[in-house]
């Protein structure tokens, strides 16, 4: 029995070791090396990259990444919750609506981001329409700012919020809502005091699934933010490309990973205590 189990687990172990642990070990080693002149790394070993992490310049970027990812996650929750509730109540049509939520995945994220840029740029559809209607005289700055980055993140990751929320809401016993009404709760109190507390596992799962990729996003801030709004993903990318500082890039990505893991573990522990994750 044990041998069989090991045989089944072996492929997963090989894949994880080769594609996950080994690269991670390489990155950890790089973060402790000296930068090479044309990229790459060279001897001797040094802690310099880790010390540089404390530079306020990078701290600001880290904080901005947290803020943007946090705001994007919150907006996803605000938009995703009513949508998930609607789909969960849609009866026979719920599969159709779920398909519609997933439809954007059928095209490349890059292409969709460019589509947004065409819509939002100064001569884009939105600004042309507003000016043609006489609502504005000059094009509004819709692109290349924090707002545009948040819009891009919300657009990109909303389905990751909707799906886990749908899963918890769909499972919820309808009798609980009837009991709430029976005990005097109007729709809003029932929502606040029954539906939302009971969807906590979905809220947590959805928030994690949106927040983590948003935190490490680099495509959206690069394109929608026009490189003006740098997030930690762009910073890491820069170290490996233009800045040619692989040790620092490695230290940055490891630091980000550790922060995310600590947050995730705190969340899982909380969920475990409530017996709900």
């Amino acid at each position: 029995m044990n041998r069989l189990r090991n045989a089944f687990l072996a492929p997963a172990w090989v894949v994880f070791t080769l594609l996950f642990f080994a690269p991670l070990a390489v990155i950890a080693a790089y973060s402790l090396a000296t930068r090479g002149t044309y990229g790459g790394v060279s001897a001797p070993a040094s802690l310099e990259s880790w010390v540089r992490l404390a530079d306020p310049l990078y701290l600001v970027i880290l904080l901005r990444s947290f803020a943007l990812a946090g705001v994007a996650t919150f907006i996803c929750l605000l938009l995703g919750f009513p949508l998930a509730l609607f789909i969960a109540r849609a009866g026979a049509r719920r599969n159709l609506y779920l398909q519609l939520v997933i439809v954007p995945f059928w095209t490349s994220f890059l292409v969709r981001t460019y589509a947004w840029m065409f819509l939002l740029r100064e001569t884009g559809l939105v600004n042309s329409a507003l000016m043609a209607l006489g609502l504005t005289r000059e094009p509004l700055p819709l692109l290349y700012n924090n707002g545009a980055v948040i819009l891009g993140l919300v657009y990109g990751y909303l389905p990751f919020m909707v799906l886990p929320l749908y899963a918890t809401l769909e499972r919820m016993d309808r009798a609980l809502l009837e009991a709430a009404a029976d005990l005097g709760a109007r729709s809003w109190s029932a929502l606040w005091r029954v539906v939302i507390p009971l969807s906590a596992p979905g809220i947590r799962a959805g928030s994690v699934l949106v927040f983590i990729p948003c935190l490490g996003a680099y495509l959206t801030p690069d394109l929608m933010g026009g490189g003006k709004t740098i997030m930690i993903g762009n910073l890491v990318q820069n170290q490996f490309t233009t800045a040619r500082d692989w040790p620092f890039g490695s230290a940055l990505s490891l630091a980000l990973m550790v922060i995310v893991m600590v947050l995730l573990m705190a969340l899982v522990r909380r969920g475990g205590e409530e017996g709900m994750l």
Binding site: D173, A175, L176, E178, A179, A180, A181, D182, L183, G184, A185, R186, S189, R193, V194, P197, L198, A200, G275
Partner: protein, 327 residues
């Protein structure tokens, strides 16, 4: 009769299916009233229309003399004990009881704490007020559901098969507690069940429903002893069908010899007998090929399969029905 709840010619039509068909009921204040019927007879739909979860297609519902059609569940002074109990899993026992008081029981503001404590004591859960529903036994959950509704002092407490989720042994004990609780609090109970034994043992009065309609309303004795239809007769207990009507097995007797004058009898052969502890159920076959069941005391003569016997009964024990197709 001080009527607290009236259903006046109430019907509920679903697409292609009439769930409740023109029922009229009057329930007296303080009464323990049961709606008895097989699954799908419309009894739960009737309860849901009183609670406000469904609206009648036609007819009126009156509560305390006031027409409550169209009122939302939170605007009706009734409360429901759900079949699944529907306790809020994220709240403690106390939290569940408090929920209704905060919303529907605003008139009790200022004495909430005292009321919650009284409700906990009433169902003997004082020492479990901080438990979550998942940490309670089935019987305890049922008591929380009762306390949560009773604490609101509704004009009518609606109970949707509240004993069906309990195991059979516990069910009988809880049945007795439920009855004594109702007597103590004096609140009108409307009890939905498909179990005739529950309805007979608990109710002051009851209505038997079939295919969306009420077949008979009366006290348990009236309904058991004077069923108006074959459906009611057979739903309430065992029946032996004879040409002129029917007979309960407990008034159907067996003897080796034909009985004396005045008794009705038929010759039969014993097919099978089942020992049930306090009595024996004997199945016999008549010359016509039909079978009947007689219940005899266990101290009476033992009959063996194949014995030629006489089955007999008293004329006054026969049940007669208005002209209707035999089912």
């Amino acid at each position: 009769m001080d009527t607290v709840l009236t259903l006046q010619a109430v019907s509920k039509q679903y697409p292609g299916h009439r769930a409740v068909d023109n029922i009229t009921l009057e329930i007296a204040r303080g009464e323990f009233f049961s709606l008895l019927g097989p699954s799908g007879c419309g009894k739960t739909t009737a309860l849901r229309m009183i609670a406000g979860f469904e609206e009648p297609t036609s007819g009126d519902v009156f509560l305390g003399g006031e027409r409550i059609n169209g009122k939302r569940p939170y605007e009706r002074n009734v409360s429901t004990v759900f079949q699944s109990y529907a306790l809020f899993p994220h709240l403690t026992v106390r939290g569940n009881i408090e929920f209704g008081l905060r919303h529907k029981g605003k008139r009790f503001a200022g004495e909430m704490d005292r009321r919650i404590r009284a409700a906990l004591e009433m169902v003997h859960l004082e020492n479990k007020e901080n438990r979550r529903p998942a940490e309670l036994s089935g019987g305890e959950r049922q008591r929380v559901a009762l306390a949560r509704s009773l604490v609101l002092e509704p004009e009518v407490l609606l109970l949707d098969e509240p004993l069906s989720a309990l195991d059979p042994k516990l069910r009988k004990q809880v049945r007795l507690e439920l009855k004594s609780l109702q007597r103590r609090v004096g609140i009108t109970f409307l009890f939905i069940t498909h179990d005739q034994e529950e309805a007979l043992s608990l109710s002051d009065r009851m209505a038997v429903m079939n295919r969306g309609a009420v077949e008979q309303i009366g006290t348990p004795e009236e309904i058991y002893l004077k069923p108006r239809s074959r459906f009611v007769a057979s739903f309430l207990g065992g029946m032996n069908w004879i040409d002129s009507g029917g007979l309960r097995p407990e008034v159907t007797h067996l003897g080796a010899e034909p009985p004396g004058d005045g008794e009705r009898s038929l010759p039969a052969t014993v097919v099978h007998s089942v020992f049930l502890g306090n009595f024996v159920q004997v199945q016999v076959r008549l010359a016509s090929g039909e079978t009947m069941i007689a219940e005899t005391g266990r101290r009476d003569v033992a009959f063996r399969n194949g014995d030629a016997v006489h089955i007999w009964w008293r004329a006054e024990d026969e049940l007669h029905f208005e002209a209707e197709a035999r089912k």
